[in-house]
Subunit: 494 residues, 2 copies
């Protein structure tokens, strides 16, 4: 990084820090998010065109993603305005037992707790969702809703898309009377240049990081964040080898339909979704599933992937896995022409060979799946499965091994899908888009849904504070959001 | 560690893992906690005697701490039974906008979220609270309430106390028909022997760590937890240099009373509390505060500290600080006789010398305080203050610099106390006993109060699950705890 580039990063972070105070009010946060959504709506066609050119995703794929981006911005505006997210709790001073939990333990001070924003957040968006997890995606929306300005680290796979979005966002903010420095972008067009990332994560005015990408990059970002003089949290979503389990009974009854469903899930965005099925785990007697899946994958055309290095990484991982002991290549689709094109792949291995070879336990980012053949469902108990974002279970509750599969998936996934594919994430309060390591480094969090803003806050307790020192949500009397007062939930009016 | 000791650790962890399933039911969790509290009540006198012998804390200091320990166990029993802590959320499948946040973003699957326990937790208790933050203290209570068995790492400062408590706890569990392996202790009588800590944090069946102690040990525990093949969370409370700010107006009006209050706060447990005032930050004109504080500290007798190495650490840090440029020793109390005795200390330094010397920014664990003299309250803006558990502010809202002090303290502390001393932690929902680094490594958490159990859980989302796959709190129909259904809070009956 040249000293000029360093100055740009520093100036950007300082501007975000200065703008921070303007987000103190919840109404302002909501207004900012709504202004962004409206501003982006105005350039929808241009965004779709540029994003499609850069990502090789089709307009049909990007149009719903655009709606998801603006829908998420508006949802977080509603969350900010509704106000309960701030987690207000009041325990009045009382020498008597109060609330649901009986007994005062310790001195009966008046204590009041609320979430406060950490400060400017640096967002490292995803390659595979240039809109919904890009410059104005879920991390940006949740950070702004929590009261944190955002500094986007440009993604080298779609620099024009990011610049277009952030430019429009800043213009929309100016137009609505907000500080444009509530969102900014630091350029990083060269994927080999790591200095913008290093400078951002190390800057004292960056107070948290949201990252979506590879495990290697995520672990490095987390390390940089941790080794600062003052460590900051880095929430890293790092890829996932999502398992799909099918019971024998389900396979016998509707194996072909299941195989087709899984195939379509894999083919969405040519396998380039964090929720793409990675493992298909089958007891004996599931041939119909594999046949239908193989037929559909074999018939799929090769497609351009998100970036040349994504294609290279995919082919490299495929080659590694195909060389592993006991792995049979069932489908290896045409690679196509062009620097970014690649085809589908279906591999098959027995449970023992799978268990013994860690190279098979890691994500293959692309349109491939590894079928793991069990000797029986009980082998699920010890099969080495690593933490994943999501797992699917096809089968009925009375099927052999269904309970075991349900419990095993719940123990290692952030989300368990029943009778459905892992792709397709609803943005809702109950959503968990996260999961045990190595899917993320913070399994207690979600990157999707209103709870995502908790990542950008910490609680503060004010003890025996004069009324003037209390924010609105901690004052006695009515407040529009839900809060907990003396151990009892007091629902808001909103 | 000998291979025999390794086997003991391994056996203990395996037994905890096996016992884990017995905590699935909330009523069982509550029963376990109540059995522990009742069992400890039966050996109260013996616990007080042994803990006093080991820690040199007085029975008058330990009696309320005993009540805090059993009160916390019973409070967490109530929390477990009440049930809302599990954070249940339900979003029904609906093609229509539902709930408070309008608009369905993404596919409208039925999604339901709940917290699940991580598994066995290893608790590294505090030297300074052998009961309330010892073997059956807040970390143990919150872990059991969350559904996690506990493996206590013995504290070398009070091994007999820990063995007595865990022995009684296991007997109480047996007596009440629970598995005794829900709590166990790994011995570590020699403070130089780090192998029990290493073995516990590295054991695959330990799924989280709660640590209270020094920064050096805490960072090492966190590193070990992170560098496992499968990283686990380590929640480390690592000491804190807690600031007390007094406005000139408050000092003029009631400086002597404030000085006496701060002195008594320091003298509690001879300065060996994590919430002990460490810095007294004063604008010009606060002489009365310092005079009263100095008089009380100078009159205090030396006392035995918690352990010889605690005394040595205290004297070492005092010597470092007294050598720093511009530091004046106002009080240096008699050291006393005996290997563990030490006296009080009051040091004074100007803001510029303080700012320039990092040796002054770290905790001195013991009965000492550093007065930092400001040229004016505005110097608070840039004074280098590190993350702390708690800060205090004496003064009225109209006083010069009061707003600045309030905001500065809120930006760097987990808790801000108004017109009072930082010692004295209420165990309540709104309590935050935590704070920015280096006070803790997880400022989003609290080690005290019902919210402490969130540390031992992660959320799981079940999508389109059949009723049979849902725990009680996620089924449609009535449930006794509060939950969020389609974006609206539904208060429980409890």
């Amino acid at each position: 990084m040249t000293s000029d580039q360093s100055k740009v990063v520093d100036g950007t972070c300082r501007a975000a820090w200065s703008a921070w105070g303007s987000l103190a009010d919840a109404g302002t946060r909501a207004g900012v998010l709504e202004a962004l959504a409206a501003g982006l709506d105005e350039i929808r066609e241009e965004v779709l065109r540029v994003a499609s050119e850069e990502s090789a995703l089709t307009p049909a794929e990007l149009a719903p993603e655009f709606a998801r981006m603006t829908g998420t911005l508006r949802q977080f505006a509603a969350v900010a305005r509704e106000g309960s997210w701030i987690g207000a709790m009041i325990d009045h001073a009382s020498p008597e037992p109060v609330g649901a939990f009986g007994g005062v333990v310790g001195p009966a001070h008046d204590v009041r707790r609320v979430l406060v924003p950490l400060g400017p957040v640096s967002v490292f968006g995803a390659s595979n969702f240039p809109l919904a997890y890009g410059a104005c995606g879920g991390d940006t929306a949740s950070a702004l809703a929590a009261g944190c300005p955002v500094i986007v680290k440009e993604h080298p796979a779609h620099p024009r898309t990011g610049r277009l979005i952030v430019g429009a966002a800043r213009e929309a903010l100016r137009g609505a009377g907000h500080s444009e420095d509530l969102i900014a972008l630091v350029e990083n067009a060269d994927p080999r240049d790591l200095s913008p990332a290093t400078a951002l994560v190390g800057h004292p005015m960056v107070r948290a990081v949201g990252f979506t990408g590879s495990q290697r990059a995520g672990l490095e970002i987390a390390r940089l964040a941790r080794e600062r003089a003052e460590p900051i949290p880095a929430y890293c979503e790092m890829g996932s080898c999502n398992p799909v389990v099918v019971t024998r009974e389900a396979a016998v009854a509707r194996g072909e339909a299941i195989g087709r469903q899984v195939a379509e899930s894999i083919l969405l965005r040519h396998g380039q979704q964090c929720t793409c099925p990675g493992l298909l785990i089958l007891p004996p007697g599931c041939g119909a599933v594999v046949e239908a899946l193989a037929a559909r994958l074999a018939a799929a055309d090769p497609r351009a992937m998100l970036a040349p290095w994504v294609r290279d990484g995919y082919l490299h991982r495929l080659a590694e896995c195909r060389k592993a002991r006991g792995v049979e290549t069932v489908v290896y689709g045409r690679e196509g022409s062009g620097q970014r094109q690649a085809g589908t792949c279906l591999l098959r291995v027995g449970a023992a060979d799978f268990a013994a070879q860690p190279v098979l336990h890691e994500e293959v980012f692309g349109p491939s799946v590894l079928v793991v053949e069990l000797g029986g469902m009980s082998e699920l108990r010890t099969l080495p499965l690593r933490g994943a974002l999501v797992g699917s279970l096809y089968g009925g509750v009375a099927d052999e091994g269904w309970d075991l599969a349900r419990n095993r998936l719940a123990s290692m996934c952030g989300r368990v899908v029943f009778e459905g594919v892992p792709t397709g994430v609803r943005v809702a309060g109950a959503m968990v888009h996260g999961g045990p390591f190595p899917a993320t480094n913070r399994p207690e969090s979600t990157a999707c849904g209103p709870m995502a803003l908790a990542r950008w806050c910490r609680p503060v307790c004010l003890q025996n504070a004069p009324k003037e020192a209390l924010p609105a949500e901690l004052r006695d009397g009515s407040w529009h959001g839900t809060r907990v007062v003396d151990g009892r939930v007091v629902p808001g009016a909103g």
